[in-house]
Symmetry: C2
């Protein structure tokens, strides 16, 4: 073993670079949004890379009755390198509940922040979308617009450190963007390639990369 290399690596990365990602998941959540992101993000196999379902309570139950144990709290999200807002059937109610939203102290200057479908509404309520157009799903569209946000007719958009996606399966683009930003485009390509359908891996990978590439800063 070359100890100089080990030393340099630890010097550079701390004792393994920590990279914390929180997938915010609330009661009545949409399984597709939270778990597609979580599954793809976990394709990065590096020590220190940690992806968690983060919730305000110890367990949350999905819109289809699936109860899941949180792996992290909302305050853990505040110290995460990336935070993704999932969506669900109670988003508006939760977005207006200060006892929940007040726990979030996010800072897009230091964190990547993304939202999926109705999660975009939460971003706007937190003041994270000032003058930034955004993506959301077709059902959430009217009330995201009512909140003063310009809604785009596309699956993914990012400006700087804030990204949004619309339509459950576009969770793959949000995850791709996070990996590309934190680990590079090749790591994102590799994660997408792994999860893509057999026989369609190139189509899926290239489309996913194309969706996010224009927004990498």
């Amino acid at each position: 073993m070359d100890w100089r290399l080990v030393f340099e690596k630890n010097l550079y990365h701390g004792t393994f670079q920590q990279m914390k990602i929180s997938v915010l998941t609330f009661d009545n959540f949409n399984e597709l949004d939270s778990f597609i992101a979580l599954g793809i993000l976990n394709r990065v196999k590096k020590p220190g890379w940690k992806v968690s379902i983060a919730s305000p309570t110890k367990t949350v139950t999905s819109m289809n009755g699936v109860t899941v144990h949180a792996q992290a709290s909302l305050s853990d999200a505040n110290t995460s390198d990336a935070v993704l807002f999932g969506s669900g059937m109670k988003t508006r109610e939760i977005a207006n509940d200060d006892s929940i939203m007040g726990q979030l102290k996010l800072n897009p200057a230091h964190q990547l922040i993304g939202a999926q479908c109705s999660g975009t509404y939460m971003l706007s309520k937190l003041g994270l979308l000032n003058s930034v157009p955004a993506c959301t799903d077709l059902l959430s569209r009217p009330w995201v617009q009512e909140a003063g946000v310009e809604v785009l007719n596309q699956p993914f958009f990012a400006k700087g450190n804030v990204a949004t996606a619309g339509g459950c399966l576009s969770a793959q683009y949000l995850a791709t963007w996070v990996i590309a930003r934190l680990e590079g485009i090749e790591a994102a390509r590799s994660a997408l390639h792994y999860v893509a359908p057999v026989g369609e891996k190139d189509i899926y990978t290239e489309r996913g990369i194309a969706q996010v590439q224009a927004y990498l800063v």
Copy 2:
């Protein structure tokens, strides 16, 4: 209220047609496989349509440490109209554990049976793939072949009531096939359209329908 209509509806459907679907989910499961299927299948909004995570224990923990409460048992799967095998990191071990697999008494003459990625290995161990070629993921491919199954380089294949899919995101095709078989092609199209990324809804929907249409009997 027109009681004749209510009477006719109940006569036609029983007192609402029951349609039970079990998504078999074992310890160390892959979240993408189980939850993409569950999420899309739950887009069918009909009384009596019931989709459940079915597991051998009250809770199961995913390959990425997410603990989920089962909504049904393995014996519930035996009386389901459709049963989908998810995949995971302990599939081979579980497939060879008679205390688990022995609880399954499935009958492809009366049930739709599908499997995703390493779940295909479980189908072969249960004798449900005799001489039927199948899809699986690239990592599971060698040991599915070792079990005597011809593995196809495509995302989805079905013969009669048995279907297989390969690559996590092909879970969408398995769900599409189940909906198309149980509720018709328009219901499948509608479910896919709902979950597809905004701006890509037609591409996703048509591709999904095209994947399963040749196999609808």
